[in-house]
Every structure is written in structure tokens, then in C-alpha cells.
């Protein structure tokens, strides 16, 4: 249950993020970048958790939505933002993030409407294919820099933006799932047929989860673009989607706190794991298999209801 102080905690979290952000020049550059990555991954993981964890729909295209948001936001900034006066830049950044998110949400709608009427297995393949198609489109489109991608994007993502939006994501997803309306997501997750018999329209809930999840993934993509300052189509491949899926599974599907913890841990250990090279993905694959067999509810879910594993 979302407690009464939720709104207050949200405002406090944003305030802290912004205040800390003012002092970010004093932090070690490397740690600051890792912290921003943590924030972006929290947004990605929490938004996928709405789709995969709460609603039980397996999407392998989260990196695709991220790519849509990232490319659109970066393009807007490059066209309007770079020449704008200093005071207008945060507004343009906000607008770029929002438009990126909305376009990603529309992409989510376009993918979701045909495939969500069907079983989960199809969805996995369609979303996988969608991610690939997005990559091919950006790779061939001259407007988006073709194979080189977009470069010289201003580095506007700060700790404040990152954690502020992460807090908003957690708040929105939390409020949504814990509202009367949001009980529908969990009902669809637990038993689609029973939910339908209770007068809940499973397709509408699934599409809603998909669109909202895609929106936040798009916003995260925008933040990512303005953090790395370059975008290339290769950065949003299937493996990126798998990274996010692993965060959600490790944290426990439907367990927001666990998913946030998993996003933080996996981002922080990312650098040491990079030394493993290709073995990193072998480790990820083993994590997936072993968790599914022994702890399908994730590492951080304790004594939860039976349905948590579904």
C-alpha cells in the first residue's frame, strides 16, 4: 500500500536530488557518472517492472523504446537547444525528454495493440523483432546519423535530473499499481481469464502498462543520450534489453524496492564485470536460469504471496 506520505517523500527525494546536484562539481567525475547510470537504470528497471513484474508481460524490446526516446530527445536538443540562451536550456531539455517519452509511448502503443491480444510467447518475439527494426531504422536514417549515430549532444543530464526523474518514475508506477485502477494490472498478471470474468479488460490493462513503461524507457533514453553525449544504434541492441530484464528478475518481479536494489547493484558491479568480457553474459545467463529454478520471486522478495513467482 502506498502510504499517505508518498507525495511528501517524492518531493523530498526530488529536493535532495536537486540540492546534491548543485554540489556535483565537487564529486569525483567517475563516481558521478556511475551514479547517473544508476539513476537511468532505476528508471529502466522500474518501468520494465510495470510491464514484466506487475502485469506479467514479457517484453524484450525495452532497449528499443529507450532508443526511440534517446534519439528523438537528442535530435530536439541538437536542433533547438544548442543555440538557445542559457535560461531556456533546462526547459528545452525537459521538453525534449517529454517528447522523446511520448514518441516512445506511441511506439509502445503500435507494438502493443496487435500483439497484446495474444499470448506472452508471441509478445516476446514481436518485441524482440521491434527492437531490431528500430535499430535498423536508425541505422539507415540519414537524419539520425545513420551508422555513426548522433554526436556532440550537450551533457545536460545531472544528478538532479537523473534521480529526480527516477523518483518520479517510482512514484508514478507505485501510485498506479497501488490505486484501485492499478489492482487490475496485478489481476491480469495473476489470472487473465479470472480478471476478464471480473469485468477487467486484460487487453486494455496490458496496453496501458506497455505504453506507460515505454514512456519512461523513452525518458531514460533521453537522459542516457545527454549523459553519454553520443548515440549509436549498436548501443541499443538485444543485450541491453536483457540487462534490464535481469535487473527485474534479480530484484523480484513486481517488487519495486527489490528491483531498485538490483538496478543499483548491477550498475555498480558493471565495471568490474566488464573485465570478464564475453563471460559477463554467461554469468548473466546463469543468473537467469538459476534464479528461475530456485528463486523465481527474485533475491529480495521475502515471504511474499504465492503469485509473486508467476
Amino acid at each position: 500500500m502506498m502510504h499517505i506520505g508518498a507525495k511528501r517523500s517524492l518531493l523530498t527525494a526530488i529536493l535532495i536530488a536537486v540540492v546534491v546536484s548543485l554540489f556535483s562539481a565537487h564529486f569525483n567525475r567517475y563516481y558521478r557518472d556511475v551514479a547517473i547510470d544508476v539513476a537511468i537504470n532505476i528508471i529502466l528497471a522500474v518501468s520494465l517492472n510495470l510491464i514484466l513484474g506487475h502485469t506479467g508481460q514479457f517484453s524484450l524490446g525495452h532497449a528499443g523504446f529507450m532508443a526511440v526516446g534517446g534519439y528523438i530527445a537528442a535530435k530536439i536538443t541538437l536542433v533547438f537547444g544548442v543555440t538557445a540562451v542559457a535560461w531556456a536550456q533546462p526547459l528545452i531539455f525537459l521538453g525534449a525528454l517529454l517528447v522523446g517519452g511520448i514518441v516512445a509511448a506511441l511506439a509502445g502503443l503500435a507494438v502493443g495493440v496487435p500483439s497484446l491480444r495474444l499470448r506472452g510467447d508471441y509478445l516476446a518475439i514481436v518485441t524482440l523483432g521491434f527492437g531490431e527494426i528500430i535499430r535498423v531504422i536508425f541505422q539507415t536514417s540519414e537524419t539520425f546519423g545513420a551508422a555513426t549515430g548522433l554526436v556532440a549532444i550537450p551533457k545536460w543530464t545531472t544528478l538532479g535530473w537523473g534521480f529526480g526523474i527516477a523518483a518520479i518514475t517510482v512514484y508514478v508506477v507505485g501510485c498506479l499499481v497501488n490505486s484501485t485502477y492499478g489492482r487490475g494490472f496485478i489481476a491480469v498478471h495473476d489470472d487473465e481469464i479470472a480478471a476478464g470474468a471480473m469485468g477487467i479488460n486484460p487487453v486494455r490493462y496490458k496496453v496501458t502498462a506497455f505504453v506507460i513503461g515505454a514512456f519512461f524507457a523513452g525518458v531514460a533514453g533521453g537522459l542516457y543520450a545527454h549523459q553519454k553525449t553520443t548515440l549509436s544504434p549498436g548501443g541499443f541492441d538485444f543485450m541491453k534489453s536483457i540487462d534490464i530484464v535481469v535487473m527485474v528478475i534479480l530484484g523480484g518481479m513486481g517488487n519495486t524496492a527489490g528491483v531498485i536494489a538490483a538496478a543499483v547493484i548491477l550498475t555498480v558491479v558493471q565495471e568490474p564485470l566488464r573485465a570478464l568480457g564475453p563471460l559477463r553474459m554467461v554469468v548473466f545467463a546463469l543468473i537467469i536460469i538459476v534464479l528461475m529454478m530456485l528463486r523465481p520471486q527474485g533475491l529480495f522478495s521475502f515471504g511474499k504471496k504465492k503469485g509473486a513467482s508467476a
Binding site: 514479457f58 496487435p114 510467447d121 518475439i125 521491434f130 535498423v136 537467469i288 528461475m292
Partner: protein, 302 residues
């Protein structure tokens, strides 16, 4: 006769898709889930042939027909064993679990095989040239050019399809497969050993994937651990196109997809988006005929 040429090329590619699609559709028929690792079994089939080829060449001489046959049979046997093993270790413990769990595990198994094989100690990530198993010749017939390998693929696919039909429709094991696919619980009450049927299905499907993998490798510039992903996805789409769980449907879907892709690849302007065509077909079929071309719409019973 340009279009006739495209048609033959498409049929050769499509019959490879059909062989892979049979594996997907059979496993789907008995277990109701997509075996994502199927595309990696295909890759393992090609690599088995790659490592067997020099040894067989030493015994039977270079590019001999009997050597090629032995390679194909051995690779099929190896892959059948791998397929059975995957089911035993990864899927069987999860059989009574929610479908999402099994689906995620299947992706995990697929990634595990791919990245383990990419490691330098196993196959390595670099593309390796696939050995010529058979002498190749260009055949000319009524103005159509065709590689002898492609003709062989077509003929062999036809033979394997008939064999599959025979196994499923005319043998005791085939009857057991159909029974499990129809209703697992009732079949098990009638004395069908469900575990054995499922193992057999995985073995048979994986053997077909190995054969398809070898043929695919013959046409491809080389082999590498991720080579199975693209044909695997295409074959899955072919299975959905024909009606998943339906054997003739898988064959039809494979052939159709192969022809459509080849023809589209020949149209200027469309050819850039060749990779997207298969997915566009999938989305169209899911909207207009989710049960597939030959499948019957199933009413979900509660």
C-alpha cells in the same frame, strides 16, 4: 524467367526454414512454449559438422557423398542428445511452473549456449569458413540456374517431411506425441510415458535443426556462435505463419517465408528492409489470422 529463378532460390532457403520450424512447432505442440534455445541447437549442428568434417575426410576421402551423409547423421545424433539434455536439465524441473518462468529460462539457456560458445576456449567469436562437404555444380534447367546443394536441400527436406509425417501419423510414438499434444493429463492416464514422449520430441526436433544448420552453413559465408539467431527467428515466424503446433503448417510457412523474403530482396527499394519483412508478416498474421494459415482457432477452456 527471372521470377522463376527467384522462386527456386526462395524455395531452397524456405526449406531450411521449414526444417527448423518443424522443431519449434513440435515442441510447442507438446509443451506449449517456445524453445528459444532451438536456434542455438542449429548452430551446434553446424559446428559439429565443422569439427567432424576433417575426420570424415580422412576416412572417406574429400567431398564424398557417404562422408557427407555420415557427418549429417552424426551431427543430428549429437544435437538430438543436446536437445534432450537441455529439456532434462532446464525445462523439466520447471514443467509445472507458470509459463513466464519457463519462457525466461528458455532465453537464459539460449544466451548461455551462445556466449559460452563465443568464449575463446570453446568456438570463439570469429567467423569460421564452413568446409565444402560435397562437390558443388551449377545445374541448368529450362533457363534456371541452381546450385546442386540447393537442389539437394529441397529433395532432402521433402524426404524428411514425409518421414516426419510417417513418424507422427503412423508409429506408436507418433500417436503418443499426438495424444500428449491433445491432452497431457489424459494421455498420461492412458499409460503414455509423458516424459519419454517429450524427450523424444526434443530429440527429433533438435536432429532436424542440426540438418538445417548444416545446410544453412553451406549457403552462408561462414559459421559463428550467433549464426542461429536470424534463421531461428525466421523459422519461428514461419511456424506461426503456418499455425503453430501444426506440422504441415510449419513446412508451408517455411517455404512461403523463404520465397517472400527472396522475392522482396530482389525488388529495389524494398531490399534495404529485407530483415523487417519477416516481422511485418508476423505482425500481420497476428492481427488477421492469429491461428496461422493451417491452424484452427482454439477456444481456451477454463
Amino acid at each position: 524467367m527471372h521470377w522463376l529463378q527467384q522462386l527456386t532460390n526462395g524455395l531452397a532457403l524456405g526449406s531450411i526454414y521449414a526444417l527448423i520450424a518443424l522443431g519449434y512447432t513440435m515442441v510447442y505442440g507438446v509443451l506449449r512454449f517456445i524453445n528459444f534455445a532451438h536456434s542455438d541447437v542449429l548452430m551446434l549442428g553446424a559446428f559439429s559438422a565443422f569439427y567432424l568434417a576433417p575426420k570424415m575426410e580422412a576416412i572417406f576421402g574429400p567431398q564424398s557423398a557417404i562422408g557427407a551423409l555420415v557427418i549429417i547423421v552424426l551431427a543430428a545424433a549429437i544435437c538430438a542428445a543436446i536437445g534432450i539434455l537441455i529439456e532434462l536439465l532446464a525445462y523439466r524441473p520447471l514443467r509445472k511452473r507458470p509459463k513466464l518462468t519457463v519462457l525466461i529460462t528458455a532465453i537464459g539457456v539460449s544466451l548461455f549456449i551462445e556466449f559460452t560458445c563465443q568464449h575463446g576456449a570453446v568456438f570463439g567469436a570469429a567467423t569460421k569458413p564452413f568446409p565444402k562437404l560435397l562437390p558443388t555444380r551449377e545445374l541448368h534447367f529450362a533457363g534456371i540456374e541452381m546450385a546442386s546443394n540447393d537442389l539437394l536441400v529441397l529433395v532432402l527436406t521433402a524426404v524428411l517431411l514425409v518421414a516426419m509425417w510417417f513418424i507422427v501419423q503412423r508409429t506408436k510414438m507418433g500417436m503418443a506425441i499426438r495424444a500428449v499434444s491433445f491432452n497431457e493429463q489424459a494421455a498420461s492416464l492412458m499409460g503414455v510415458n509423458v516424459n519419454r514422449v517429450i524427450s523424444f520430441t526434443f530429440g527429433l526436433g533438435s536432429a532436424l535443426a542440426a540438418v538445417a544448420g548444416i545446410f544453412y552453413a553451406m549457403r552462408a559465408p561462414g559459421i559463428e556462435p550467433l549464426m542461429g539467431v536470424q534463421p531461428g527467428i525466421r523459422a519461428f515466424i514461419a511456424a506461426v505463419l503456418g499455425g503453430i503446433g501444426n506440422l504441415p503448417g510449419a513446412a508451408l510457412g517455411g517455404l512461403l517465408l523463404g520465397v517472400l523474403e527472396t522475392v522482396a530482396g530482389g525488388i529495389p527499394g524494398v531490399s534495404n528492409y529485407r530483415d523487417g519483412i519477416a516481422f511485418a508478416i508476423l505482425i500481420l498474421i497476428l492481427i488477421f489470422r492469429p491461428a496461422g494459415l493451417l491452424g484452427k482457432a482454439m477456444i481456451e477452456k477454463v
